[in-house]
Amino acid sequence: MTLISVEFALFWLVTALLYFVFPLKYRWTVLLGSSLLFYFWNGLGTGYFMLFTVAAVYVTGLLLDKYNNEHKDYLKSHPDMTRDEKKALKQKMQKKKRCILSAGLVVSFAFLVFLKYFNFLSGQAFSVLSLFGVKGTAPKIDLALPLGISFYTLQATSYIVDVYRGKLAAEKNFAKMTLFVSFFPQIIQGPIGRFGHMAPQLFEGHRFDFREAKFGTQLFLWGLIKKLTLAEYMGIIADEIFGNYTQYKGLIILFGAMVYGVQVYADFSGGMDMISGVAQVFGIKMAVNFERPYFARSVSEFWRRWHITLGAWMRDYVFYPLSLSKAFANMGKKTRKVFGTYIGKMLPTFLASFIAFFLVGVWHGSSYKYVVYGLWNSVIISGSILLEPVYKKIIEKLKINTECFSWQLFQILRTFLLVSVGRIFSRADSLMISFNMIKNMFSEFNPWVLTNGTLYTFGLQPRQMFLVFLVIIVLFVVSLMQEKGMKIRESLEKQNMLFQWLVIIGAIIFVAIYGAYGDQFNAADFVYQQF
């Protein structure tokens, strides 16, 4: 049962009917039942992995909570403690909690690491061993990756870290914890929710709200348009260029990378819109995962707008803890002596960012190309910070006005270009192929391919190219309006009823006629579903 199927539409409808028929207090049980049904229906018998993760974080949370409460109670019963005594107590408690947290994290990540990376690591280990004359075949596991494991593992572990930090009280109800981890719209491809944001919404029963249901359905429809009338068509071009990369050179490679960038945005953000739309019907607001990333003026800003929940997870649970750790602080002191104040101060932060982006890369898959994809972004972000004083001097010397539209446009296009080149690593079939493609990109200067009809040779008919162009224009205008603070659905709501219905029916007809679905193009697969 994929997100784009009649079965899912019926499943969504039946879940909604049951949800609003049940007593308010027990409505969350409908979501739990549907989520488990959805998971075991789609999970190809891997549901027990997910339930094991739920059990691991549930127990870890309870144990951590016990120490949090002990700590609080002790402070309450000893109001005269000095600052140093409080500090010593905190350290003692943290030591105990850290052991529990570490065990919880190891158990929770074990399946993800084992199932996702074992074959790769085993293959690499045997390649190295073969250099020393060791013969044999690398052992492999032949197990389907549990549905959404990369997403739900991060979501589940964020909960135990937040309990460890004292931000949350542990959830006592195992069934509710299961719902938090397995909530059916988000289990497929996120967004990676936080317990503090999701739990109250999931567990509290919501009354039927026509406006929320209307907005949710509209958002679902908008996601469907992005997925079926843009992502799928762009995917055909990207597949042709990346699949036959040896035949293409110069600008065509860059064009392919940019097209893939648009494809993956329409696919992933379209999927997010659909998921958020489904949840909104139940009165649940999912975390925002995209904020018009292609309007970003720097790569670091891009990552604050693209896959926001993954970036925020890496920031809160990897980048900040590393940057503020004693080890990194000590490293900073040493590097300042060697490299001077500015660079020395920044180096530990760059290293933390480097590690976070390395993890972003490997989170996408077990291949060197993903490692390089992560590091490409890290190097650009760190490099741009390091070179900022140089840029400032150049801008001053050339008397460039940085407050005008043309400069902002330049920054946006530069960011798009840098991000697109990075995409070659993530989309190409291997790291070597991505290097070859980048080499080929610079091997020929062929701007005429943009105007001599070459663009029509990548698998799309002129009519389909026109359609794609039209959808991109609509997407651009909508994004621009949102960027200016306009709320599209609220604005549509203020129009006459006839106009509202014309827009909705028009959108449905548009996606029904022009959507790429069915046997020819498999619309069921979302790019991020595979991660």
Partner: protein, 75 residues
């Protein structure tokens, strides 16, 4: 203390109007690199330890919130 804090902030980001901004982190005016640099400066200047669990937007969205955090940690 607030003056010292403002001096640190202005040295960190001369382009930001710290006295009037009310959503420094929420609006992305200060990014994670800025926050890490700022925390290192504040820890050294005020002899405090700002932990990871203190890195909430509401503690860094305004100068007053930062001042309050420093006061609490210095107690």
């Amino acid at each position: 203390m607030k003056e010292k804090l403002l001096t640190i902030l202005r040295e960190l980001r001369a382009d930001v109007d710290f006295e009037n901004e009310t959503a420094l982190v929420t609006d992305g005016i200060l990014d994670s690199f800025d926050i890490v640099s700022l925390v290192a400066e504040l820890n050294a200047e005020f002899d405090i330890t700002i932990g990871v669990d203190d890195l909430e937007p509401e503690n860094f969205d305004t100068v007053d919130a930062m001042a309050q955090l420093i006061e609490e940690l210095a107690d």
